[in-house]
Symmetry: D2
């Protein structure tokens, strides 16, 4: 297969390259960038200078000739505009942006403050939370890859919600992310000196991943779910940890809860249910794993569920390739059998 | 005045020295350490090598001759045993450990897994949350300095609890701390390579600061308060940020809430209520400030209150000196007029 | 006294404020910024929000009315243009930029690639390496504050050079700096994600501090000195460590060398000669100290001299205030008796 | 093939596992640890909990039955004692410790302060600097894997030394390392709070890698080489950067020097000669690359050569596997075609 990565000057795009170049089913990967067209990959990303690649200009016709699959790792508002052209050319599109995640255009416009995609394509898009939408992904032409926070949150939350073990109005997600999530654009607020030795909450009440989580949580549980969501920026490069609080609707034991999670995920190689330790981001660094820990607090009657992922892997490029594997019928771990880098 | 700092080979103790050596009312500071007695301060803490100090052995008689005030920056179980001797000598004792924070010996023993202090002294101890117990501190002989997490949590929570604006059973505290909170003892789990690029929850449901918060929250609000508390270790040296969730009992606006906090704290120079930004730990680094931010989420009906402190300052040595100032009748900022180090 | 800090949206400028606001001789400090004029300090630097200051516009007349002293913490090319106006108004000017450090305009233009200042003022400027030019500083109207690398390098090197113990053609300076040295301007290369977990050399052979070091080294030793200088960017906020190699011209012992350094610096409170440990940046963090360590390698016949400073303090704002103290006849430590922040 | 990794509770040992488990020629990897025998890998290294491995006790007989190859990632003094037993069983031994690197037992004992290995085995050991001793490695039974600092230093230095372009008495190596090089043993000096925001030189004149570099540099150039070597600890997990200074013996241009390095290394896939940028550690993170940059300073007549490696990869486990590939006749990149993790 041949793939093109659009927007490959960002961290998500270049992570696609890292995976795809070791993926046995891909013989060629084109890198596309409007701003760097004609320049060497070396100038943007010296760590892959040995690949001796050039950036190609963004040209739908040309890309469609060279690629069977298109990864869109572009800023909000780009995919909604250009994904349809690739779809019309019969290409499979994996969109890593948020443009096709929300089914309702009004909600998209309210949270993203941009024009929504054509409803026709919104309806066609399959939400690529690999472990929960495998069947839909198998035949999808447009895969809308989940956000980093929603991936960790939903994997941790859906078993309890689906089984109706928790009060859906009680869910609080306290989320913490490494700084690569803020992208590679030069800005004062993410300079090293500003972030290092600092812990900073942001976008309280306003993060665009809120409606995404609520939509999928509602869909999978058959009830309305309203979540409280607070993201924080942590001085580290990679990693997301979500700490989720929810009221238990019954006196479930930790043992019962562990069993539920094992039953849900033991057939999925990238989700590890931790019986005897707590998740931490370093344990998944550079890999496609999602580590989930389960606590039941007898004093308060709440579940405290934790999940850790690498935001650029299971939270972006890793899950994108996982979805491609599902779509292509390869084993789901193809090209993704990458051990975490520790320490 | 003359002070002795017992346990001055740890981060809390040495921070006392940093403050006291610039405090105009202190003419002499003795450093006491069993393990380093007779050795130069230089060997433990090169940054203060210019002070050319020696560690003194731990000897109650001797220390009592040299000091009017004794700071105990010692591990759990030490103060409960030795503070009484200093009190009997008529010394003022500021205990930075947890040994005198919990009034009920059974609760202490349950959470600390050590024998509790003599109830006589537990009853005598004044809880040194400076902004809330000023009157009691003014005449205290034994000041029990609050824990780092309880300081940030209580300052943020008490106005709402006291005014009964929130459901006391709904309080969730998601807490994040820098690594100095784990002390200076050599252990694999806090090695640089293990902590760096890692975010790790710990002691879920079991942290000994839980009963401390509940006791004071209950005392100040006149109701039973049960909190959910989850601490996390963040890859940075200093700083605590707490993110507190609580159900609003009425449709309070952010403006009303800001007013409540300004009314409560505007006369207290170390608490800064933030009208137009969110707290972050770097903004208080090295200082005695507590920054508080207030959010009212209309979608969920919850307050989201944030507070940031430097765990070694307002969370330990800074508040200890603030309490000494109150006790001695000095202006509360004496020796503590230290601007945050930024960046 | 009253001071104005021009360029106080950068790290060097705001560090001047941190010091001056605790300095007993300064009753008022004006902050001047073209870009932020009329805006609150709070919006740029939340850590000093309690000072409730506004940025003033850059207006020579106005500033000259309000200030006795002017600190210029501005980018290259600004001071050369505007310092003369303040001098003509009779103000004392402390320039933290490089515009008045090089006496030879041609050399300035070659290394800075900007037009040099008027030679009249270049000649008038006194190089503010406090420990070596105290007499000149006492009467200076224009103090050219040294660069961060030159400060550490010269303090470490001058005793050996002046005594002619080393070959002046053999000097190699391997320098390492924290990231605040790169300033606060938004740029991709100093984003957190790019710097964190990275060690990067830069400007080999081309750093503008090379001619500055050579000029002063030559002046103090009476010989031509050509140095090899390689700067590196280290993932930390503050701190410079220089490792200096030079061929010994005789079989000097470490003891003799230590004596030479003690003789040179024991009367200077901010230089600490380390007899029994090596300098490290954390031991000077936030303070005006320069820690110097001396090694004599018998195998190779070289001196290996190390010096550590906080680049924003002894390398910028701290030394600026030290120079003001010298100029004003205050004790040199006034306002600078700040213990290092550890850890 | 089957491999055993002895000492797999340290960072070097577990990095062997990370590589070998993705290496197509290895069907089984045994992990051996005296201290953790019988315990799950999970308890030491949660990131590889999915492998569900147990630590085996250290038992030469047993290990020899299960493994064709033995990796010794053990502290100094262990291999010298136990490697012979494995060699006598006909096993191929790759020793990652320093026990077989120095041919002269006296020099070993002087620098390591431990008894040296039996000279018989010292003579048999082949120094595993893959790019320079390929022929010897092809038939070696005992491969002594180079130290991390020597690997970076020698790869950067040998072309110039061998061609006699530099004065061998003039070589200065200013070396900087991430903290994983200090191992995983609990000690106060490598706690997070001590290392973070700190830059620290150590073991000046005394590092045990000095004689290793001198021995190999002398062997490859046919002259005595005495190096000045200063290591520094940098606040990051992985990575070594060496900055090497040497007097040019002629007016070589940068172009000529680049050509020399390209001629030397273009046939070796893990050495990347950088024409248009400087090496930095992040560009090799997690990979087996060594990036080399070449500068010729016309002002001073010196070469300034820079090399960056990941100390756990090309500086330890990566080069160990590279040597195994050479020994086994596999393509040298087998199992090592791992792109750097960026950022």
């Amino acid at each position: 297969m041949k793939a093109a990565v659009i927007g490959s000057t960002g961290y998500g795009g270049i992570e696609c390259l890292r995976i795809l170049q070791g993926h046995p089913e891909f013989e060629e990967i084109s890198l596309v960038s409007s701003s760097q067209a004609g320049r060497s990959l070396n100038s943007s990303f010296p760590h892959v200078s040995h690949l001796a690649k050039m950036y190609l200009p963004f040209d739908v016709e040309q890309i469609s000739k060279q690629a069977d699959l298109v990864f869109l790792a572009t800023p909000p508002g780009f995919s909604s505009q250009y994904a349809p052209s690739f779809l019309e050319q019969g290409k499979i599109v994996i969109d890593l942006s948020g443009d096709f995640r929300l089914n309702d255009p009004d909600i998209y416009e309210q949270w993203y403050r941009k024009p929504a995609a054509d409803p026709k394509y919104l309806n066609q898009a399959v939400y690529g939370l690999s472990e929960w939408f495998e069947n839909e992904i198998k035949t999808a032409q447009l895969i809308s890859n989940p956000g980093c926070y929603p991936t960790a949150t939903l994997l941790a939350l859906l078993p309890l919600l689906k089984e109706k073990w928790i009060n859906p109005a009680s869910v609080i997600v306290d989320a913490k992310s490494g700084v690569t999530g803020a992208g590679r654009k030069a800005q004062q607020s993410t300079l090293y000196s500003e972030i290092n030795e600092n812990l900073r909450p942001y976008k309280i009440e306003h993060h665009q991943h809120i409606p995404e989580i609520e939509q999928i949580a509602g869909k999978c549980s058959g009830t309305d779910v309203t979540i409280q969501f607070t993201p924080h920026l942590v001085p580290m490069n990679r990693g997301i940890l979500v700490t989720i609080y929810a009221e238990s609707l019954n006196k479930y034991t930790r043992k019962e809860a562990l069993q539920l999670y094992h039953d849900t995920y033991d057939c999925h190689p990238f989700v590890r249910i931790l019986d005897s330790r707590l998740p931490e981001t370093k344990a998944v660094q550079g890999s496609n794993f999602c580590d989930i820990g389960i606590n039941v607090d007898g004093r308060t009657g709440r579940f405290v569920i934790l999940a850790a992922i690498d935001n650029l892997m299971k939270g972006a490029a890793g899950q994108a390739v996982q979805n491609v594997n599902i779509r292509m019928g390869c084993p789901v771990t193809t090209g993704l059998d990458i051990a975490p880098l520790y320490p």
